[in-house]
């Protein structure tokens, strides 16, 4: 029996809720009602699945990584290929769902925050496809390190709004998007990019991302034909991980979320929210976050813009707290090595975010027996990261 989280108040155990300015209470209520109505409407669900299939390229492949399996000499390694989704990452699943909902609600304008730019591109894409006006908030540092995605958003007709507060990364872009929404909530739909934010966002984004896990389960059972023993996914806000994990929560599968340890969890420069953070409120929900002794949110660090976030979705906080999912942290260095290994052995350049999941999985797979199977969610492709990758490896040539 699947657990029904969140509860009516948007709570996952202690976590979640709606910690927002009063002005947002009404739009959140409006959103929740529209969402519940839509999710109960077969036509809406059919439209969502239709767009995923005919436009976005679902189902994405389940690839057996024979060469890397052989090289590591342990468990059989499978990859769920969200890198093959239109625009290059899982983010589009959710953007499609929310854009359809926005249309249904009669909203002509959407806003989004973005870190790696993948959610920004996904949002700009659905805005173009569904004829919506789109503004994307993006930190200045991220604009620098994810330049191709910035250009893609602009080409797609979105306005990219640079955010200079803080360190100019995802947290700051999210703050700014929320501030904008407060002022424009009457005609604007806020299309959040991960399972974060106030209720009902974490639930909505999860439900639009669980297609990853549902498909994987079906494909695995068709192929292997048993469930995998382990599943790995990287965790920034946590949407690809929740999307993958959720349908397996009640199964006998060990689920592993992988955070960014940056330059090491014992340094000041990491984004290992669960490993090193504490309870607190960020972007409207009670969860774990990186903060100082006074409750000021600290600046995270990761080589990957998409994991460079000091919070984490409340459902992950709950799964961590209740020990239903194991969370590990992987450094920049380990992630980049895994990226290189996958590229050279399987001919797949993963997103730097996804490389974190790969690194942890590879580490563990080596020591498993050959009858074990593991599944890694390859949340996105690395094309957006070429500059970062080039920079990282340039010393080695």
């Amino acid at each position: 029996m699947e657990q029904v989280y969140p509860d009516q108040q948007g709570r996952y155990g202690d976590f979640g809720g709606k910690y927002v300015p009063e002005t947002l209470m009404a739009p959140l209520q409006e959103l929740e009602e529209a969402l519940d109505e839509a999710m109960a409407d077969r036509e809406f669900i059919a439209e969502y699945h239709g767009v995923l299939e005919k436009y976005a390229g679902r189902p994405t492949a389940l690839t057996y990584a024979d060469k890397v399996t052989e090289i590591l000499g342990g468990a059989k390694i499978y990859l769920k290929r969200e890198d093959l989704l239109h625009t290059g990452a899982h983010k589009l699943n959710n953007a499609i769902g929310q854009a359809l909902l926005a249309k249904r609600m009669g909203k002509q304008k959407i806003i989004a925050e973005t870190g790696a730019g993948q959610h920004g591109v996904a949002s700009a894409t659905v805005a173009a496809k569904f004829g919506l006006e789109c503004k994307v908030f993006m930190g200045e540092e991220d604009i620098r390190r994810q330049e191709p995605n910035v250009f893609r958003m602009k080409m797609l007709g979105a306005e990219v709004i640079p955010v200079s507060s803080g360190r100019g990364t995802l947290k700051d872009a999210t703050n700014e998007a929320i501030r904008y929404w407060v002022a424009n909530c009457e005609d604007t739909f806020y299309l959040i990019g991960s399972v974060v934010g106030p209720h009902p966002y974490p639930r909505m984004v999860r439900d639009f991302q669980r297609i990853i896990g549902d498909e994987s389960k079906r494909q695995f059972l068709e192929g292997e034909p048993t469930l995998p023993d382990y599943i790995y996914a990287c965790v920034g806000g946590g949407s690809n991980a929740i999307g993958m994990f959720h349908p397996f929560l009640e199964d006998d599968v060990e689920l592993v979320g992988v955070e960014a340890a940056g330059k090491g969890v014992d340094t000041e420069e990491h984004a290992a929210t669960l490993t090193k953070g504490d309870r607190g409120v960020i972007h409207g929900s009670l969860t774990f976050l990186l903060q100082d002794e006074h409750g000021q949110i600290t600046e995270p660090y990761s080589i990957s813009a998409g994991l460079d976030y000091p919070g984490i979705g409340p459902e992950h906080a709950y799964l961590f707290d209740s020990k239903q999912v194991r969370y590990e942290a992987v450094t920049d260095e380990e992630a980049m090595d895994a990226l290189k290994l996958l590229t050279e052995t399987e001919g797949i350049i993963p997103a730097v975010e996804s490389a974190h999941a790969l690194a942890q999985a590879f580490k563990e797979a080596k020591d498993m027996s050959a009858d074990k199977t593991i599944l890694i969610n390859l949340s996105g492709r690395g094309d957006k990261d070429l500059a970062t990758i080039m920079n990282h490896f340039k010393g080695e040539e």
């Binding site: 108040q9 809720g17 709606k18 910690y19 927002v20 300015p21 009063e22 002005t23 209470m25 009404a26 739009p27 507060s165 803080g166 947290k171 703050n175 929320i178 501030r179 407060v182 002022a183 424009n184 909530c185 009457e186 504490d278 309870r279 607190g280 409120v281 960020i282 972007h283 409207g284 009670l286 976050l289 903060q291 002794e293 006074h294 409750g295 000021q296 949110i297 600290t298």
Partner: protein, 267 residues
């Protein structure tokens, strides 16, 4: 509740209230005390003492800058509260409402937070990211510690207005417009209807805030509400003098200029 709260005890009137906002530690703790006293001198009825926060979701660029100046100087929630006795020692008599985001409160612990407020002579608290539905336990604690928990209502609060207003304590903070602090405010006729509706349900004075930045704004609000809350505009007056306020030899004159500007705004 039959006995008077400390907040009520310190509040001289319940109409035509002037409620300015300053950020603790902006630009220094000492200046914050001076500013509080100058504001009282300029007619402030309640002081909103802001706790600088790294990620102030409900605030626009002006208050973000103030928070940054204060945080760069190392200000924290506890230190900010500890300024209140110093203000009192220097003659501050009006009620002090501590304005803080929820995360620093959680971090220090809700119990400890209210104890600190009570011990240091604060009379109220306002947590902009803790809406009515999430604030039950906090409101109970506040009550227990003789602290007024200030609620907010917004033009889009709709059916919730009645509930929030009827349970309001201290004063009720009416957000005059959708948006973060520091925007421009155009008071429409809808807003006056909204204020009217709020007043019908509120047992406490109704004050209006967000985007009030000119004497005309103030005059207009006075016609409809029991008080005006002025945040960003006050911060901008501080900002204009920020270097002088930090300079011992120039502070006195800067404070006087600040006083004159505030008077002009509210007289």
């Amino acid at each position: 509740m039959l006995t008077q709260t400390s907040f009520q005890g310190k509040l001289n009137k319940t109409e035509d209230l002037f409620i300015p906002f300053i950020e603790a530690g902006d630009p220094t703790p000492e200046v914050t005390i001076d500013l509080a006293l100058k504001l009282q001198e300029a007619g402030a009825d309640i002081l909103e003492l802001g706790i600088p926060y790294s990620d102030p979701l409900a605030d626009g660029p002006t208050i973000q800058r103030a928070a940054k100046r204060a945080l760069d100087n190392g200000m924290s929630l506890q230190q900010a509260i500890e300024l209140i006795p110093d203000m009192r020692a220097n003659g501050l008599e009006i009620p002090v409402v501590v304005f803080t985001y929820y995360n620093p409160v959680l971090r220090i612990g809700e119990e400890k937070f209210f104890k600190l407020l009570e011990e240091h002579g604060a009379e109220g608290v306002l947590i902009p990211d803790l809406p009515h539905e999430e604030s039950e336990s906090v409101r109970e604690l506040a009550l227990k510690h003789d602290i007024e928990y200030i609620s907010l209502v917004a033009p889009n609060s709709e059916e919730r207005i009645q509930k929030i207003a009827s349970e309001a304590r201290g004063f009720l903070y009416c957000v005059s417009t959708l948006g973060v602090t520091g925007g421009e405010n155009q008071l429409s006729s809808e807003v006056t209807d909204f204020i009217q509706k709020v007043k019908e349900h509120s047992p406490v004075p109704v004050a209006v805030g967000f985007g009030i930045s000119t004497n005309e704004d103030v005059q207009m609000i006075r016609q409809h509400a029991d008080g005006v809350i002025i945040g960003s505009k006050i911060i901008r007056l501080v900002e204009a003098e920020v270097e002088n306020l930090k300079d011992d030899s120039k502070r006195h004159e800067a404070l006087n200029r600040f006083y004159e500007n505030v008077r002009e705004l509210v007289e």
